[in-house]
């Protein structure tokens, strides 16, 4: 999908071509550099990533077994003031998400109050009956959250998506910074950038704080991965390594004496907190998908008896479903008693007849997404689609309207990327990473900036050719 950049908010350049304050220090440095040297550094970056093995696997792409997410070396820069405002909005939203999950699996006050329709849960596979009436250790459902934000103006940030199941990408936030510090160390002595490198330590602490009562004095944390063929395996290994936790697979685990234990060279050892990067449905073959080999038979029984913390809790997917997303402003207000500080992108629920009629009339201007889809698959981008594609999609939409939501085509902000011809604006989004424990909410200053590498493109997903950037929050 294409857009006209001149109509978008450029995060570096003002309308008169002046440099905005966030980028002042960086541009001063950039203009001093020899363009040939910058080109050389740009090429070096790719070699660096390949060598340390930051690759990802793309589903349905056999030839390119391991691909590299393009890295752009121009940082995305956010001022301290902008960040403070964002964090307030993010914290409010994350607290509301947890309160919502607690309510949904207990008294369902929000449905009783008529603020959320009953059907939205009843027909949703992400709602797990196994979680009803059960409170996870410490009362936390979403220990790790990624909130996807887009920007359309100087003060206009909106939430595009909540990632409350198993948000990925945090390893890119860390490696991108590491790469930048290797390539351009002098930049960081000139410009005060908030560090992100202690994220793994914070994550480990946050997980230990969420341990169950039966845990060891220093709780044992393990990261559960589906294995080396998973697209995010690098990240699973990276986080386990950085936290000093074991990286385990389903085949390493077994329930012994009412605890989930891992098979070590000297016997079975109990795990207190499992940071799982395996989807709910594969977690326990006894409770969910019977033929799953990725999970641990009986872990849900251990969980319900308080023998382990699972992060994030099973059943959190109900909170980041796209159908629920459209209710988020109500959800925030219901549980916090405040107006949402971060607005949603306007969303039409195609399940509602009026909205459906509007969407069908304006299909060519809208973005239509599957309610349960992710990663940019199965979506329609109206302005970029041919008449044939539109009519084909219209049929799908009419057949199952409740499977879709629609949003306007936003004029997303742009940030410069490095090209052979110099700096060029490209569309971006931002995923800050949030940690939640019984002791509080912790937001790492920065996040993952995804960037559409092609001119005019609005699709930033890595599975669709998007790249990443280092994201800077400036210190005061």
């Amino acid at each position: 999908m294409k857009s006209d950049e001149s109509a978008n908010y450029d995060e570096m350049l003002g309308e008169d071509g002046s440099i905005r304050p966030a980028y002042a220090g960086f541009r001063e440095w950039y203009d001093e550099q020899d363009p040939r040297w910058l080109k050389k550094q740009d090429a070096e970056a790719e070699r660096f990533f390949r060598r340390i093995g930051i690759t990802f696997n793309v589903y349905g792409d056999n030839d390119a077994e391991e691909r590299l997410i393009p890295f752009d070396m121009i940082p995305r820069i956010i001022t301290a003031r902008e960040w403070r405002k964002l964090t307030r909005g993010i914290e409010q939203r994350v607290r509301a998400l947890n309160a919502f999950l607690q309510d949904l699996y207990h008294r369902q006050e929000i449905i009783r109050a008529g603020r959320l329709p009953m059907w939205i849960m009843r027909e949703n596979a992400a709602f797990l009956p196994q979680m009803v009436g059960f409170t996870p250790p410490g009362g936390i459902y979403t220990h790790i959250v990624g909130i996807d934000l887009v920007r359309t103006g100087p003060e206009e940030f909106m939430v595009l998506e909540d990632n409350a199941r198993t948000p990925s990408g945090v390893s890119y936030m860390l490696e991108n910074r590491e790469t930048m510090m290797n390539m351009f160390p002098e930049l960081f002595t000139r410009i005060p950038v908030c560090p992100v490198s202690d994220y793994p330590r914070r994550l480990a602490r946050s997980l230990r704080e969420s341990a169950p009562d039966c845990a060891a004095e220093r709780p044992v944390v393990a990261v559960l991965t589906p294995g080396i063929y998973n697209s995010a395996y690098f990240e699973h290994a990276f986080l386990a390594d950085q936290m000093g936790a074991e990286l385990v697979e389903g085949s390493d685990l077994r329930v012994v004496n009412g605890r989930v234990c891992m098979r070590t060279t000297t016997g079975y050892q109990p795990i207190d907190v499992l940071y799982r990067r395996v989807d709910d449905e594969y977690l326990d073959p006894l409770s969910f998908t019977p033929d799953s080999v990725l999970g641990i038979a009986g872990i849900m029984d251990v969980y319900r008896s308080g023998g382990i913390t699972i992060a994030n809790a099973p059943g959190t997917g109900i909170a980041d479903d796209k159908a629920i997303y459209s209710f988020m402003p109500d959800i925030v207000e219901f549980y916090t008693g405040e107006k949402p500080l971060l607005p949603n992108v306007p969303t039409w629920r195609c399940s509602e007849p009026d909205a459906l009629a509007y969407v069908l009339d304006n299909l060519k201007d809208l973005v239509v997404k599957e309610v349960h889809g992710s990663g940019g698959y199965g979506m329609l981008i109206g302005p970029a689609s041919s008449r044939k594609e539109l009519s084909r999609f219209e049929k799908k939409l009419r057949a199952r309207p409740d499977n879709y939501i629609a949003q306007p085509t936003l004029s997303l902000s742009t940030v410069p990327i490095f090209t052979r011809a110099g700096l060029a604006p490209r569309h971006v989004d931002l995923r800050p990473f949030v940690l939640v424990s019984p002791n509080g909410v912790n937001i790492t200053p920065g996040g993952l900036t995804r960037v559409a590498m092609r001119k005019g493109s609005l699709v930033v997903n890595s599975s669709q050719g998007g790249g990443t950037k280092d994201s800077w929050v400036l210190e005061d």
């Binding site: 340390i52 093995g53 074991e246 891992m262 060279t265």
Partner: protein, 315 residues
């Protein structure tokens, strides 16, 4: 440490060692082919390389003759060959990848880089003119990874499992090489030290990188007993069977020390090591070299299996 990770580092090291040894064998095959005029004996030499590494059956199902380039391309990079050198390097890397949290970054990066370099070099058919360069590269990459292990890893269980893998594989490989060539070493009344025999022995020594070491120790004397003695019983030569068993034993002691107890595998190893040390060259020729090696190979397999079971490599 997870049992699966112990298995991973064990096999990572085994695959690297095996890739290196296959490269050595190919190097020798190539050398012999260069010094021989006759096509028939050249083909015999290449075939014996395939037999040594146990790939002759699969090869002969696919091909009818044993031309050099056909054989070394099959061994190095044929996609249908599940035991090609490329596949072993890929296996080493995927094991390393699965145990990334147990090994240092240096070891992972060295393994990953080896994989990338060799994948590039083996992306096109190998010609006689660049075979030497590629074989050197395989050896060098394996050496680099070993160096990274040596220089960056804690001397803990992970290190010990890795070393045990290396030396079990090496013991197995040296024994197999001896087995295929054992007929060359059979004492024969007809033996008069002809040129051909000397060349064969030289080959044998070269394939375990022992030609120079042997000459240092034996001052130019070339006879079957001394060569067998060297490859089986010499405690200084890092590819001899005795040396490999000593290393396995000392790395297993490291495990016992760390875990505070010995396992059944220790007992098996102690027995096997003691028997090997008590063996004399006369005993070997009394039993018959071939039979001796068969016994040794099954003993080595038994040790490996006992370690895997005692340390819960698998469920």
């Amino acid at each position: 440490m997870l049992g699966r990770n112990a298995n991973g580092v064990f096999w990572m090291s085994r695959y690297l060692e095996r890739a290196e040894n296959v490269a050595r064998l190919l190097d020798v095959g190539f050398r012999l082919a260069l010094t021989r005029g006759l096509d028939a004996s050249q083909e015999e030499e290449w075939r014996s390389v395939l037999i040594t590494i146990g790939q002759d059956d699969d090869y002969s199902e696919k091909f009818d003759d044993y031309s050099g380039p056909q054989v070394f391309n099959y061994i190095l990079r044929d996609r249908e060959n599940a035991s090609s050198v490329m596949q072993m390097i890929a296996n080493a890397r995927s094991n390393a990848r699965a145990v990334r949290t147990s090994i240092t970054n240096e070891v992972w990066e060295a393994t990953n880089e080896s994989f990338m370099i060799l994948r590039d070099q083996l992306s096109r058919p190998v010609r006689e003119s660049n075979l030497g360069e590629i074989l050197t590269s395989v050896r060098r990459q394996a050496t680099l990874v070993r160096g990274a292990i040596e220089g960056s890893m804690l001397r803990n269980e992970v290190f010990n499992f890795s070393r045990i893998g290396t030396f079990i594989e090496r013991a197995d490989n040296t024994a197999r090489i001896l087995d295929v060539k054992y007929y060359v070493l059979l004492p024969s009344v007809a033996w008069v030290g002809s040129d051909l025999d000397n060349a064969q022995w030289d080959t044998l020594l070269r394939s375990v990188a022992g030609d120079r070491a042997y000459r240092w120790l034996n001052a130019g004397r070339m006879d079957p007993r001394s060569i067998t003695q060297f490859l089986v019983l010499d405690g200084q030569f890092p590819r001899s069977l005795v040396f490999c068993y000593d290393k396995i034993r000392s790395n297993m002691s490291g495990l016992a020390l760390q875990y505070g107890e010995e396992t059944e595998a220790h007992e098996i190893m102690r027995g096997a090591g003691a028997r090997l040390h008590q063996t004399t060259i006369d005993d070997i020729f009394d039993v018959g070299l071939h039979q001796f090696i068969q016994n040794f190979l099954s003993e080595t397999t038994r040790i490996g299996n006992a370690i895997a079971a005692d340390y819960r490599f698998m469920e």
